[in-house]
Assembly symmetry: C2
Homo-oligomer: 248 residues x 2
Amino acid sequence: MLISVKETSSHGLDAITCENCSLFQLCLPMGIAQPDLALLDRVIKRRRTLRRGEALFVPEQPFRYVYAVRSGSIKTYAPMHDGPHQITGFHLPGELLGLDAINEGIHGCGAVALETSSVCELPLDKLEELGGIVTSMQRQMMRIMSRQILHDQGLQVLLCRKNAEQRLAAFLANLAMRFKQRGFSAQEFNLSMSRSDIGNYLGLAKETVSRVFTRFHEDRIAVITLKHVRLSDLPRLSVLAGLEPLAE
Amino acid sequence: MLISVKETSSHGLDAITCENCSLFQLCLPMGIAQPDLALLDRVIKRRRTLRRGEALFVPEQPFRYVYAVRSGSIKTYAPMHDGPHQITGFHLPGELLGLDAINEGIHGCGAVALETSSVCELPLDKLEELGGIVTSMQRQMMRIMSRQILHDQGLQVLLCRKNAEQRLAAFLANLAMRFKQRGFSAQEFNLSMSRSDIGNYLGLAKETVSRVFTRFHEDRIAVITLKHVRLSDLPRLSVLAGLEPLAE
DNA sequence: CGAATCCTTGAACACCTTCAACAGGGGTGG
DNA sequence: CCACCCCTGTTGAAGGTGTTCAAGGATTCG
């Protein structure tokens, strides 16, 4: 399993609240204080679990919830009327899914679990009913959406300007950073997605992904054997990715 | 000039409100009714004008306003520590700029006018002070951000899956649609950006843009002479762009 | 009118894709 | 437990699409 979240009371009566969730610092409730947090807690449905390959939602499906990943990892994809899907993102615990559906009330993309995963369901409309979205909540929500927009711009730069090597370096460096934020090793982790998924996401053929990974190995930058990743030279990887080696 | 907005009272005492602005149906206040609209009107600063090449904001600049384009057109770009900027978008009247800055309170990208343009300045924090952002307002704001996220996903598909011809077809078809929404001709319009800008935005060399435009001309799909665009065969252009020919 | 910029067109080259064949793992069922 | 199969991943060779470099022509603006 890619990530196993240490839930404060995983053997309790599902008594987990946002307040005592290990993802508190990363997730939606970050920076939200009582009593707004209690309000949030009241409407969140916890722990819908998915098995590998199971769909959380499909394209065109009416929008009911924004989802927060709780454990595992989930990929989102945009359907293409011709040919295969375009993978639009890989989501780790504490990250939100379904933000693109708010506008039209319909999911533009689909979401599938890459491994056994669990999510929280946030009914946005319920929150509004409970006296309008609380100011702190809505501000946080806007911040998260703003961050997503910024992230998408970074992806645009990646796809417009970088070659295969730089894209994959950036991809690995980004994963490393996110694992670190979640209390895991940045140097060593497991990939829950296939080479094919990675290539699809980055606009590369799966063969190219394979070849570049081999080259990383030869150059002693990273050792990637099947699902397992070991980043031997994170500074050089960051330089390749087009980041300052010191940054983050 | 790319667009000249017919302001209801352009020779009046700057008495334009959101309610009587010709962009009402496209801009932030869409769907917002009195008295919330009056509240919005009270804090919006109108009509900051920019000349061609003038900066609206620069990267790293503290975030003060979200901007709504009122007339003209504005490009946004992400700085790259090595080499030239990456253009992240071209914005027409009624569209919002600066949404990516909400999260960190600093503009991640810069914005420059492509021609003589004017904008409205929306102080987000002021809105909150006036009794929290009104529910209808914040809902609308989230919708707009959601739409932006959806748009960015479309761009990701474009950059990952489409070749030069398809990218430029999609670019032209998208412009045509947006002009039509604004009451202008979808078949005939002017480009305010250079071939170089277009190529930068779409991840292509400017030479490629030029060559594909020539090919469009030969194939009787579009005639693009310098800044002027005439789309002779919008259905075929839409097919090339990977859209259903009927859709929008 | 001149200079700078933008646009166009050509030729060589680079990078990545495609096609193909093969190796390795994991799961299933005998 | 082994055999088998399917799926994923790896590696090689050929080919295509777009880039880069270069030069010439058009346009705009001071």
